[in-house]
Symmetry: C2
């Protein structure tokens, strides 16, 4: 399964693609950022992000897209741009029939490090270990996107297993 | 000049198209809303808005698109969805090379009624008078989008005139 993680942002939108299954080693395919200049016109910045995301999706064809969940009360100054970038990731997924899921920063930290209050360095350290990398993906937004993809694969995989097991159980009970 | 006004929203995204020039009577071409069901998946709702806006733009080919400006501190509960809908209007404009401008609700009220604190009924009343309509465009989001388009045409037209006059003045001074 290929998961594209998207850490939405107007100035730097992190993207990270991993491949693997639950219970087997995960592999980093690619990570990077889509940057837009702060002095460009707002609609043109959004278009750059839209086009950048489309290119990542069409090049790497992920099976699922995981986007960091944006809260209205988080970092009030940038929430509009962040929400818009997240929205573009969702629309690009929906347009191609690719399922899209959101995870909160706390969920990502907890899934990767075991603690919802881990700092960026701890998350980055674990991303390196999990993917057996020489160094963490740079910049930080790319590493965050990769962490999000790992979180989704693990959570999604576990949820799918649980759903599957429950469905089987249900099937046995109702012959 | 054709102006498409967009009152962004996830549940109801208002759209209103007017035609005219500064100093001549304005004409309403069309107004409506793009609705998405509250129980649909978020990315699918955004895709519906994206496709709805694209259809409005491609059918009516506006010269400019005016979008209500979204503030981070306004109505915290819905700001993410509203910002995302506004972002989609901007990307659809930028993708087609159509200029896009934002106006705040206060600017719209002031332009239409002369008071930045006018209520919805006063704005609606003035929209009916300005466009010589029998009744106000329904629902309220459609009327808001039309008001936004009028505000843009008047403001933009005045700004263009000022810019043009200044450019001419400059040209006379530097022979």
């Amino acid at each position: 399964m290929r998961v594209l993680g998207v850490d939405p942002g107007l100035t730097r939108c992190g993207v990270g693609l991993i491949e693997g299954q639950l219970g087997t080693p995960l592999r980093l395919i690619a990570a990077g950022v889509i940057k837009t200049p702060a002095d460009a016109e707002h609609s043109k910045r959004l278009l750059s992000i839209d086009e950048g995301l489309a290119e990542w999706i069409d090049t790497h064809r992920p099976d699922v897209i995981a986007v960091e969940r944006v809260f209205a009360d988080q970092n009030v100054l940038s929430v509009v741009g962040t929400a818009q970038a997240a929205g573009l990731a969702m629309v690009n997924a929906a347009r191609r029939g690719i399922p899209v899921h959101t995870h909160t920063p706390t969920e990502v930290k907890a899934a990767i490090t075991g603690s919802g209050r881990a700092d960026k360095a701890q998350v980055s350290h674990m991303v390196v270990r999990i993917l057996k990398l020489a160094t963490a993906p740079k910049p930080a937004d790319a590493a965050d996107a990769v962490a999000l993809a790992i979180c989704h694969l693990w959570r999604g995989g576990a949820n799918d297993r649980i759903a599957e097991a429950l469905a089987k159980q249900q099937a046995r009970r109702t012959p």
